[in-house]
């Protein structure tokens, strides 16, 4: 009996956030700007994605924040499972990639 991979069922909102992060919008506020979703939707959705292992959060280096004279920010990036989920999402929502074009992830 063939073993089938279990793909997580993502909502459209989660798919948009995943796509936005993949497009290089690695901060919560930038994801909000890209997707047009309110903060009360974006942040809990990102917590769920992180809990499910699709994205991972990290604090940026102190030196970067010091150089730009701003507080330290937390950034998010896709995990391997997140990339796999995003591929499945593209099949389910074909227009998503056109709505938020993928880009090279910025190095933070």
């Amino acid at each position: 009996m063939p073993v089938m991979a279990i793909e997580p069922k993502l909502s459209h909102t989660a798919a948009m956030i995943l796509q936005a992060i993949n497009a290089g919008q690695v901060y919560g506020f930038s994801v909000m700007e890209m997707t047009g979703l309110p903060s009360g939707t974006v942040y809990p959705a990102m917590r769920r994605l992180e809990r499910d292992g699709l994205i991972v959060s990290k604090w940026e280096q102190q030196a970067i924040a010091d150089a730009e004279q701003r507080p330290l920010r937390k950034y998010y990036k896709l995990t391997r499972a997140g990339h796999g989920a995003l591929e499945a999402v593209h099949k389910r929502y074909p227009l998503l990639e056109k709505l938020i074009p993928s880009a090279e992830v910025k190095r933070v």
Partner: protein, 509 residues
């Protein structure tokens, strides 16, 4: 500054974030707040940069809307992360779960005690008269205190002859009568025919007293017990002044006795305060109870508190009467409980060993704080067992039986003693089966060795802490080299074998 500007200001936005942060589990709060504050900085600056193209009010409202979204995030954090923390905290065997169970039991038994009228009455403190030197005069001491023993003629003679002993003396005689409490409504009440000074001697304040103008001077007065007032008169505050028909004789309600006031024999529902003329009409041999307020100078001070008086008869003989203090007469359930606690403490060493085992002293592993916490946990368990047993024994004993019932007192003593003995035994046994570091119950018992090789190798049972703090060795047969259970700490090299599902307690290395 307008109110709108003030509402949308940066300090208010920070205040919103601080408020939302309260909802976030403490362990994640600082990180959560740092992320939101950093994002707020960017939102604020972004809005300021765009203020040239958009209206300022609109931008300020955006900042506030962004901050209000923090509540959604905080609630999500609380529901998910908080719940998992709580779930871990209340896992089977955790000290939190043990404490919560005991608190629930204590509250449940206490609420049941408040709900059951008899048990609730037993909870109340003794009425004031019990401590004020009121005695019951009895010809057969304490044992005869539940049956009327004093003849009316004796009471009448003591009123004058015993003035040097008592400041006041009262008589009452229990009777049972059909009472018509309202039109077409009768009830079988336990009545007592009493002298008019009974409540003055007892020094009990009456409630719902009628206005003097409404009382008819030639009619007998009736004092209702609190229980009868509730049961037959639906706690009507206007009951005073109403007329009852007691066995064909009319009487007027003159007041309601205070809660738990009447803890004297026979569980009286109402007292008819008769005038002297009516009492004189009673047969001289009618027997009843006599209560008296003792004079400080009437009896010698000190001693064991037992008082008696001797009355000389005309034929030269003397009768001895005991003056039993009401405080002594009415054994309050709490004193019975204390007595059984004393008995249980005496019996405890016969049922279980008192030592909690041997714990090697390693400062790095078991800090002073953890040692104190361990003892505090044991003390908390014992202090929660006490109310559980006390209230449960009251529920069991006085739920259906009256307070002065000897059977109820025996039931309370038996239940209280058994409950305390098993409760204290459980507390010690439970403590011995817990990790001294994280206070969780030890798991995975394993038999080690054979009893037949007792002289060659150790044998017994081993239990292990689920977090990996150590192992407990319990010998099968106490020997000179291993007489009691021993705790062995596991060093950090063992940590890879244990899951991190438990929270590491503070103070551990």
């Amino acid at each position: 500054m307008t109110i709108r500007r003030l509402v949308h200001s940066l300090p208010v936005s920070h205040a919103i974030l601080w408020t939302a942060a309260v909802l976030v589990p403490r362990a994640r709060r600082a990180e959560w707040l740092a992320e939101w504050r950093a994002e707020l900085w960017h939102v604020w600056n972004c809005v300021r940069d765009e203020s040239a193209t958009a209206t300022r009010e609109h931008g300020d409202a955006e900042v506030t809307a962004f901050c209000l979204g923090a509540f959604h995030d905080a609630i999500w954090m609380r529901r998910n992360e908080g719940r998992s923390t709580m779930r871990r905290r209340f896992q089977i065997g955790s000290p939190w779960r043990c404490g919560a169970t005991l608190i629930t039991l204590a509250l449940a038994s206490m609420l049941l005690c408040c709900w059951l009228p008899g048990a609730h009455k037993a909870m109340l403190p003794l009425p004031r008269h019990a401590a004020d030197g009121v005695v019951m005069i009895s010809s057969e001491g304490y044992d005869a205190g539940r049956t009327p023993t004093i003849r009316l003629e004796d009471y009448e003679s003591w009123r004058t002859s015993a003035r040097h002993l008592f400041t006041g003396i009262a008589f009452y005689q229990p009777i049972h009568r059909q009472v018509r409490i309202a039109r077409h409504r009768t009830a079988e009440l336990s009545l007592a025919r009493a002298t008019s000074n009974l409540f003055d001697v007892l020094r009990l304040p009456l409630s719902a007293e009628p206005h003097a103008a409404t009382m008819r001077p030639h009619m007998a007065r009736v004092i209702l017990s609190r229980q009868a007032w509730r049961r037959y008169f639906n706690s009507n505050p206007q009951v005073a002044g109403r007329t009852l028909v007691l066995a064909g004789q009319q009487a007027q309600i003159a007041g309601v006795a205070p809660e738990g006031a009447w803890q004297l024999p026979d569980g009286i529902d109402a007292w008819i305060l008769e005038d002297q003329k009516t009492l004189d009409a009673l047969p001289a041999s009618a027997r009843g109870f006599v209560l008296a307020q003792i004079k400080a100078s009437g009896f010698p001070a000190g001693g064991t508190g037992q008082r008696s008086m001797t009355v000389s008869r005309e034929n030269g003989e003397a009768d001895r009467y005991d003056c039993v203090s009401l405080a002594q007469h009415m054994e309050h359930p709490f004193f019975l409980f204390l007595f059984t606690l004393f008995l249980a403490c005496l019996a405890l060493p016969a049922t279980t060993p008192l030592p909690l085992g041997e714990y090697s002293v390693r400062g790095s592993q078991l800090s002073l704080l953890l040692t104190i916490r361990r003892w505090l946990f044991l003390a908390a368990k014992i202090s929660l067992i006490l109310p559980v047993v006390y209230f449960s024994s009251l529920d069991l004993a006085y739920g259906r039986l009256p307070l002065d019932s000897t059977t109820a007192q025996y039931i309370q003593m038996a239940a209280s003693f058994a409950g305390l003995l098993f409760g204290l035994r459980w507390a010690l046994k439970d403590q011995r089966r817990r990790c001294p570091v994280c206070l969780r119950l030890l798991t995975n018992p394993a038999r080690v060795g054979h009893a037949s090789r007792n002289f060659l190798a150790w044998n017994g049972t081993e239990l292990i802490c689920g977090v990996g703090h150590g192992m407990l060795h319990i010998p099968e047969i106490p020997t000179s080299w291993c007489s009691t259970q021993r705790w062995f700490y596991l060093d950090s090299s063992w940590s890879s074998l244990f899951s991190d599902t438990y929270l590491a307690p503070a103070g551990t290395s």
